[in-house]
Subunit: 232 residues, 2 copies
């Protein structure tokens, strides 16, 4: 009935009322020289949809984003960052005041050891690019703010569920949403599917529009978050 | 006078009437694995403005473009490409039927020796990326079509003019338009400045809107192109 729908809608609207949600989204850019950089195929669509869904559920949302071709969702405060190091810095800053952290960004795992301050000339037939690991944003946040309810994302080409479960335990985080990026799936597409995993549960969200998917995911996240905060 | 302006305008409209112009624009993407790639800060704005200016001058324009956030200019036929190798293939294909070739694209000079077919895992503290030279599009086109009137672009952080003149001679092309990318200049900006160099001449176009600049450049190009085709 209309009343029922209205009740459901209202109930959704307050699921994250007063909750400060920090979300990272999009790709990072690791400079090789002033012109060239390393990046990835993340469009930021999923993260932006998650930010929009959280705002609709009454949350105060901060979106720490890499460079994307998307507008900031209504009611969301956005901070644009460049490299993994920049994103780490902004995320740490906003984590202090947040209740819930959702890491959807496709952060570079490696960054060049040295950045050339001039454009590298193409004199040599080969170029050896030496890269070092970046600082893990999720692990750093977890260490600095162990009680922050944290949701990670995983994009994998193979062994999705096994990898998601292992990442959940290894990182000591609360939930993981894993998607398949095999055969160009997920990246820059309007639809996606997610395997959502937590300590004592699991839910498969089938392929659907990223906005619908983000709303379904955020209901699962809100349920786990509210359960911990009422029972814990 | 109005008549004079009208005459000038009409004269501009037919400067490249019946000339088939091939233009490359934007960055290329060199895949490291299914997720990560190497690219550069080219927005494609200058190349798209050049394509639009050429179309306005009556040319039939083919635009071979990398991934950019720009719409195809009116009256221009666009072909989207991914890597330097893809762009080379498309460019060679369309060069056969072209009279004038303008290479504005920021093509990768290096590409990974091997592309991983799965996402590279971040197990190691360091990653050595071995890269090899890509095939030079300008040089290949010049070799295959030695009589094609060819204009190159150069983006440099230092020694602009010296580099432009040396590139003109080394590549054996007809004209070079060089711009400075020091301190983030030119890339993804609405304005730009160009040093235009040819065998027996040189012209400095001061900083202005990229659309105005493209029109000024195309007048210089049309003048040289038409001079060669009437005297040659």
């Amino acid at each position: 009935s209309l009343l029922q729908e209205l009740e459901e809608c209202c109930a959704t609207n307050v699921l994250l009322q007063g909750v400060r949600v920090l979300i990272t989204a999009g790709p990072t850019r690791e400079a090789i020289d002033p012109v060239r950089f390393l990046t990835n195929r993340s469009s930021g669509k999923m993260g932006y949809a998650v930010a929009q869904a959280a705002a609709k559920m009454g949350a105060e949302v901060i979106l720490v984003s890499g460079h994307v071709a998307l507008d900031c969702p209504p009611g969301v405060q956005r901070v644009i960052t460049e490299s993994a190091a920049d994103m780490l810095k902004a995320t740490c800053e906003y984590a202090r005041q947040s209740h819930l952290f959702i890491a959807t960004a496709a952060v570079a795992d490696y960054t060049p050891v040295a950045v050339a301050d001039r454009k590298i000339k193409k004199n040599a037939d080969t170029l050896h690019l030496e890269m070092k690991r970046t600082v893990d944003i999720l692990a750093t946040i977890k260490q600095e703010y162990p009680n922050l309810f944290t949701v990670g994302f995983a994009a994998e080409t193979h062994d999705l569920m096994a990898y998601a479960r292992s990442k959940l335990e290894r990182k000591g985080i609360d939930m993981i949403a894993a998607n398949s990026v095999a055969d160009g799936k997920a990246f820059d597409q309007p639809t996606n599917a997610l395997e959502v995993v937590w300590q004592d549960g699991h839910y498969s969200l089938p392929e659907m529009d990223k906005h619908q998917l983000a709303e379904a995911l955020m209901k699962l996240v809100a349920a786990q978050y509210n359960q911990r905060n009422t029972t814990g």
